[in-house]
């Protein structure tokens, strides 16, 4: 808890309502698209554009106000708490998908294979199905497939993300020591590592779809594999965009040793994405 001599309360803003409009347009567009109306996609584009416009404008206001020195120490702590709890909510979002992976591997698949009370299920409904992992289920949905070996590109990607954790820390030290060139260079290196990770990941997806017959429709293995790595990839993409933004801000000299919360927020987010990957590497690829 922090205390202030005077409280700071921001004036009203029209950005939240722009954001609401964007989100609503996006989901109405997607829902219509899913229901078979092609025009839905255009609505979705409008939604995405509105959200980007909102982010640009809202963050722009924040940066402007921060540079004018309007934010007290107390406001800074509020932002830190906000970011911390936002990341916690992200952790719980991934927990749902990790939970699905553990549940199917530990319970659903063995039961289908006849373990415990599943003996009759197996005998009557899926006679002959043996519980194995990876599996696309007793009906073999999606057909035969191969998996991506852990110790190839995924291991390389692990090293890339771990290195990026190091480079962003070096950038942080540069901020604290007020060495602007180093700041920008280490941030640029982090961006490059993030982009490389995404390139390799896209390459793996291509290979999975074209050569391994591993798709989102490959039963429960394909479902958990692509949803976990896909949402992670989405977060890396988001993180990389955030990194690009703060690289430009670093180049403009926005960050001082005392005031660089935007930098730290991005760094926290980046580390979070990194930790999720370690979980993925162990539980999706290795085990």
């Amino acid at each position: 808890m922090t205390t202030a001599d005077r409280y700071y309360v921001p004036h009203g803003s029209h950005w939240p309502i722009v954001g609401t409009f964007g989100m609503l347009t996006l989901v109405i567009g997607l829902a219509n698209l899913f229901n078979g109306h092609d025009w839905g996609q255009y609505l979705a584009y409008v939604g995405v554009a509105s959200i980007l416009f909102m982010l640009w404008g809202w963050f722009g206001d924040q940066i402007h106000e921060s540079l004018k020195g309007l934010y007290s120490k107390q406001v800074d702590v509020s932002y830190r708490m906000g970011m911390t709890w936002f990341i916690f909510s992200e952790v719980m979002f991934f927990a749902a998908f990790f939970g699905a992976l553990f549940y199917t591997r530990e319970y659903a698949i063995p039961w289908l294979g006849g373990e415990g009370a599943g003996a009759w299920t197996n005998f009557v409904l899926w006679n002959g199905y043996e519980a194995t992992w990876p599996s696309n289920g007793p009906a073999g949905i999606g057909g035969e497939f191969e998996t991506i070996p852990a110790w190839g590109v995924p291991f390389l990607n692990t090293l890339i993300l771990l290195t990026s954790g190091l480079t962003i820390t070096l950038a942080h030290w540069a901020v604290k020591k007020q060495k602007q060139l180093q700041q920008v260079l280490w941030l640029a290196a982090t961006v490059a590592l993030g982009a490389t990770f995404l390139y390799f990941q896209a390459h793996e997806y291509m290979e999975a779809y074209t050569e391994l017959n591993l798709t989102l429709g490959s039963g429960i293995y394909g479902s958990t594999f692509f949803m976990l790595t896909g949402f992670h990839g989405l977060h890396v993409t988001l993180g990389t965009i955030m990194l690009i933004v703060i690289t430009f801000r670093a180049a403009k000299g926005h960050f001082t040793p005392e005031n660089h919360f935007a930098f730290e927020a991005v760094a926290w987010y980046w580390h979070f994405v990194d930790v999720v990957w370690l979980g993925l590497f162990i539980f999706v690829y290795v085990l």
Binding site: I28, S78, A96, A108
Partner: protein, 535 residues
């Protein structure tokens, strides 16, 4: 937007309707928006309940076709849970928490605006599905696969509505945590906070922990339907039961999200009208935290009949029963607070006492349901319906009404009409028991939930229940009138509207000025609502 600092030291409200309400960053205006929205949803969801009770008035198909009946049960639940009860508590939090802890506003005021304004749009989208081909979602608010995947065009809209509501709740919860942890005035230590603030702090944590899990679960539904995944499809190695686990991992903490702030409201009101400090303040805090912790490890008691291993049945049965211990601590403390107090029975107090008694009835039927072997009989019957309506209507909704009557003078500057308030209480209390008590008997006799028709032996109790339902519905229209009348005028309220009321919110004028604390107030001992070291 220009980026000048907020011009401090003035009390005038922003000019113009859009500036005042659409772009607002003011916690009181946003609180009002939440409360008005919640009341609107309460009436809409209530109208759906009236359709349900009208259809069930007599055996046989009377008014609506079964598909529409299912849409009504599904939408009634979604609207009441996400549209009425949760926003009402967020509205109370917005209005009261900053005033109770000496903060100028919420910690993240612009995000506060965003979390509110998502709601009316998301619900408009959800309600619009009623007019689509195939109608609104009809598979129950729990959205269980495979049934929900067989729905019509409304499916994707319902899923996205849940996503939007989740985003709104998470942002609201982050804001509340940051406000409570960061914006307390000096001297307002954690263990000096009003209990309403404490219960909301814990609730906010629950929200951030479980709303994303629901988002993940419904996302899997979406990809199962539209992108060929097999999460809930046994043929592909998935399991429809897994959805139930994911859903109730969210769902059980969710029911405490709807009741913990109610505990907080009641814990503020009982001491005021008993003119005694809250009994066992610290134990109340620890009991709330224990309930929150336990809420994460009891979810499978919603699925005893699904075919779980015996070990699972036993674990979830005993874990569920353990919740009775901290809940018992709370009930004991409320009763002990009233014990030998100089009690008066104004409307908020009546609703609070009604809460204690009738929530306890709901708690006891909950214990009955927790007994796994007995639950095999009760599962999916009207006994369950009676149970959760006792905890949610005579529990959560009664506490919200108690809170509204208690703080209306602070919000509007007027006292409500005490005579009308008392009529509203007795009318509601009698009606709600006529409505829900017979449903226990219907359930024990085997009447299933979510069915538009029933066997003849259930006829009498259903008719009684429906009559209670219509009477209860009418009483809430009366409530809207009372609130409206109070907003328009009435006896002016003093700063300390209630003789025995303690706490910081009663030191500011009624109605509370647009901006309450521009500098941190000095907390004096008599401003602390529940001095925990009182002798």
């Amino acid at each position: 937007m220009s980026s000048v600092a907020h011009a401090e030291g003035h009390d005038h409200k922003p000019e113009g309707f859009l500036n005042r309400w659409l772009f607002t960053t003011n916690h009181k205006d946003i609180g009002t928006l939440y409360l008005v929205f919640s009341l609107t949803m309460f009436i809409i969801g209530g109208a759906m309940a009236m359709v349900i009770r009208a259809e069930l008035f007599m055996p046989g198909m009377q008014l609506v076709d079964p598909a529409f009946f299912n849409q009504m049960t599904t939408m009634h639940a979604l609207i009441m849970v996400f549209g009425a009860v949760m926003p009402a508590f967020v509205g109370l939090a917005n209005w009261m928490i900053p005033m109770m802890i000496g903060a100028p506003d919420m910690a993240l005021p612009r995000m506060n605006n965003w979390s509110f304004w998502i709601l009316p749009f998301a619900f408009t989208m959800l309600l619009s599905t009623l007019f689509m081909d195939g109608g609104a979602p009809a598979a129950g608010w729990t959205l269980y696969p495979p049934l929900v995947l067989q729905g019509g065009n409304s499916f994707a809209f319902a899923i996205f509505a849940v996503h939007l509501l989740g985003i709104s709740s998470i942002m609201g919860a982050i804001n509340i945590i940051a406000t409570i942890l960061n914006l307390r005035a000096p001297g307002m230590n954690l263990l000096n906070m009003p209990l309403f603030v404490w219960t909301w702090l814990i609730t906010a944590f629950l929200l951030i922990a479980v709303m994303p899990v629901l988002a993940g679960g419904v996302t899997m539904l979406l990809t199962d339907k539209f992108f060929g995944t097999s999460f809930f499809n046994a043929a592909g190695g998935g399991d429809p039961v897994m959805y139930q686990h994911i859903f109730w991992f969210f769902g059980h903490p969710e029911v405490y999200i709807m009741i913990l702030p109610a505990f907080g409201v009641v814990s503020e009101i009982l001491p005021t009208f008993s003119r005694k400090p809250l009994f066992g303040y610290t134990s109340m805090v620890y009991a709330s935290a224990s309930i929150a912790f336990l809420s994460f490890i009891v979810w499978s008691h919603h699925m005893f009949t699904v075919g779980m291993p015996l070990g699972g049945e036993l674990f979830f049965m005993y874990a569920t029963m353990v919740i009775a211990v901290p809940t018992g601590v709370k009930i004991f403390n409320w009763v002990a607070t009233m014990w030998k107090g100089a009690m008066t029975f104004e409307t908020p107090m009546l609703f609070a006492i009604g809460f204690v008694i009738m929530f306890t009835i709901g708690g006891f039927s909950g214990l009955m349901l927790a007994i796994a072997p007995a639950d095999f009989q009760y599962h999916d019957t009207y006994f369950v319906v009676a149970h959760f309506h006792y905890v949610l209507v005579t529990g959560a909704v009664f506490a919200i009404m108690a809170g509204v009557y208690y703080w209306l003078p602070k919000w509007t500057g007027h006292m409500y009409d005490e005579r009308l308030g008392k009529i509203h209480f007795w009318w509601s209390t009698i009606a709600v028991n006529v409505l829900f008590f017979p449903q226990h008997f219907l359930g024990l006799a085997g009447m299933p939930r979510r069915i538009p028709d029933y066997s003849l032996q259930f006829a009498e109790f259903n008719m009684i229940s429906s009559i209670g339902g219509f009477a209860f519905g009418l009483a809430q229209i009366f409530f809207v009138y009372i609130v409206w009348k109070t907003v328009k005028g009435g006896q002016p309220a003093e700063a300390r509207a209630w003789e025995g009321a303690k706490g910081l919110e009663w030191t500011v004028p009624s109605p509370a000025p647009h901006h309450t604390f521009e500098t941190p107030p000095e907390i004096k001992p008599d401003m602390i609502a529940h001095p925990s070291n009182a002798h």
